[in-house]
């Protein structure tokens, strides 16, 4: 595939390789479900009684104003935040240990989740090692060329522009080949070209069978995603899939 805004020649080849592996795992992709979930920070509610089931392979856009609980919901799906009440589980991973579930979750947050002092390559090798993957160096190269950072792989992350940092953040999440991908406002700070590249990346990942949950302010993404969910004040106020019955992927148009 062609990556918008990138002249990097090796980009396409690397990306499809990564996608092939994601695809390989796709049969058993990972969903995420919230059952009457609450999160309180002291007296403040970040989430109130949210029930939401995202099936393996779905592509969901998460809308809501700042402070509506989108970030908390995503971090909860990534097992970073524990619910104060309610339950979070991952459909398609019922029989897996929590460590095995973690292994299959990728998160792209507001920040890069990568070390400024290290080069892009060193960052990815470090995380691949931490996940106990084989051939961390190869994986790092693949993921970097997939996001079009192949030529800057040796440069320290601190020298990267906003757009490149976002690409690094995505590469960092993809290097471990997750089956559930969580993006927290990934378009922030990207120019139009970057956004187009991002949309295309989402579509490719979705086609490969991975589950995608993306929080965003960008209304256009609703068109790409099969399902849209709106949050406000920590409550789920709308779900395009209709409540409460979750729809199987093939039942959606």
């Amino acid at each position: 595939m062609r990556l918008c805004g990138e002249s990097d020649g090796d980009a396409g080849a690397g990306f499809s390789e990564v996608l092939l592996t994601v695809e390989r795992n796709a049969q058993s992709a990972l969903g995420v479900a919230f059952e009457r979930v609450e999160k309180r920070y002291g007296g403040l509610f970040a989430l109130r009684r949210v029930s939401l089931r995202i099936e393996p392979g779905e592509f969901v856009a998460l809308f809501g104003p700042n402070g509506s609980g989108k970030t908390t919901l995503l971090r909860m799906a990534a097992l970073l935040v524990r619910p104060s009440a309610g339950r979070v589980y991952h459909p398609g991973a019922e029989n897996l240990s929590s460590e095995a579930v973690r292994r299959q979750i990728g998160l792209v947050g507001h920040k890069t989740l990568a070390y400024d002092e290290l080069s892009a390559r060193e960052n990815l090798i470090f995380f691949a090692r931490l996940y106990g993957l084989e051939n961390p160096a190869e994986r790092a190269e693949e993921a970097l060329s997939a996001v079009g950072l192949g030529k800057r792989a040796g440069d320290a992350a601190s020298t990267f522009s906003r757009g490149m940092r976002q690409r690094l953040a995505i590469a960092r999440a993809l290097v471990t080949e997750p089956r559930l991908l969580l993006f927290d406002e990934p378009a922030t700070g990207l120019d139009r070209q970057g956004r187009e590249w991002l949309d295309e990346t989402f579509q490719t990942l979705h086609r490969s069978g991975a589950t995608l949950v993306i929080s965003t302010h960008d209304e256009a993404l609703a068109a790409l995603a099969g399902r849209s969910v709106w949050l406000q004040g920590g409550r789920m106020i709308r779900d395009s899939a209709g409540e409460p019955a979750p729809l199987a992927p093939e039942a959606r148009s």
Partner: protein, 240 residues
């Protein structure tokens, strides 16, 4: 907590009377100590407060473990209540210590083992309260202060042995020491009574402090509800 308001008021009065009687007993019932003289009478209050303080810190330690195990806020309230009351009692120890030390050892402050320990413990639990005060995230505050509460209490025996090996000028174990130590039976009774009165005071203080913490929690929840209610009433649009 089942008792009514009147019963608790009564309990406060009973403790006040009990402490008053303890004061009377210390001065008029307990015999005069031979070598130290009347100043020894401060022992009843000093030692009993000290024991109560360490008991508080032990309770705080248990409550911290309880919080980590259950994540129920009430354990966190219990941990902070016991730590604060313990700190108050420990402060009394640090004040009565020098009053006793001045006539007996000739100086207000001596880096004697048990006074030093009381001092280190005071620092540990001031740090505990500071950590709570400066922690911004409430959920995390409970978690990290519980961990600190556990670390602080684990440090107490280490501090005890290090200061003991370091130096000891304290009156040797008076209560359960060798054959010639030990208290006169009347002294024993006065000490036991004083300690019981202080124990009751400690329980009442912990209980009141615990209720205060519980109320704070309720108020902050109300505030949050109200803010949210206002937000909803204003009908803020969903930014898309």
């Amino acid at each position: 907590m089942m008792l009514g308001k009147a019963a608790w008021n009564l309990a406060w009065w009973a403790v006040a009377i009990g402490l008053g009687f303890a004061g009377y007993a210390i001065f008029f019932i307990a015999p005069r100590e031979l070598t130290m003289g009347s100043i020894q009478r401060i022992f009843y209050f000093h030692a009993a407060t000290g024991i109560s303080a360490y008991l508080c810190f032990f309770l705080s330690f248990l409550a911290s473990i309880g919080y980590l195990a259950s994540r129920q806020p009430r354990w966190d309230w219990m941990a902070v209540s016991t730590a604060e009351v313990g700190l108050a009692f420990d402060t009394v120890v640090l004040i009565t210590g020098p009053i006793w030390a001045k006539p007996v050892w000739g100086t207000w402050w001596v880096w004697d083992a048990r006074l030093t320990l009381a001092f280190i413990v005071e620092l540990l639990y001031i740090a505990y309260l500071l950590l709570r005060r400066l922690s911004t995230e409430m959920d995390r505050r409970g978690m990290i202060s519980a961990v600190f509460g556990i670390f602080a209490f684990l440090d107490v025996p280490l501090a005890y042995f290090s200061v003991r090996w370091w130096r000891t000028e304290h009156p040797g174990p008076v209560i359960a020491g060798g054959p010639n130590s030990g208290l006169d039976p009347r002294m024993w009774h006065v000490f036991a009574f004083t300690w019981l009165a202080l124990l009751a005071l400690m329980i009442l203080m912990i209980r009141d402090r615990y209720r205060l913490e519980a109320m704070r929690q309720t108020v902050s929840e109300w505030k949050a509800e109200e803010e949210l209610g206002v937000e909803m009433a204003e009908g803020k649009e969903v930014t898309q």
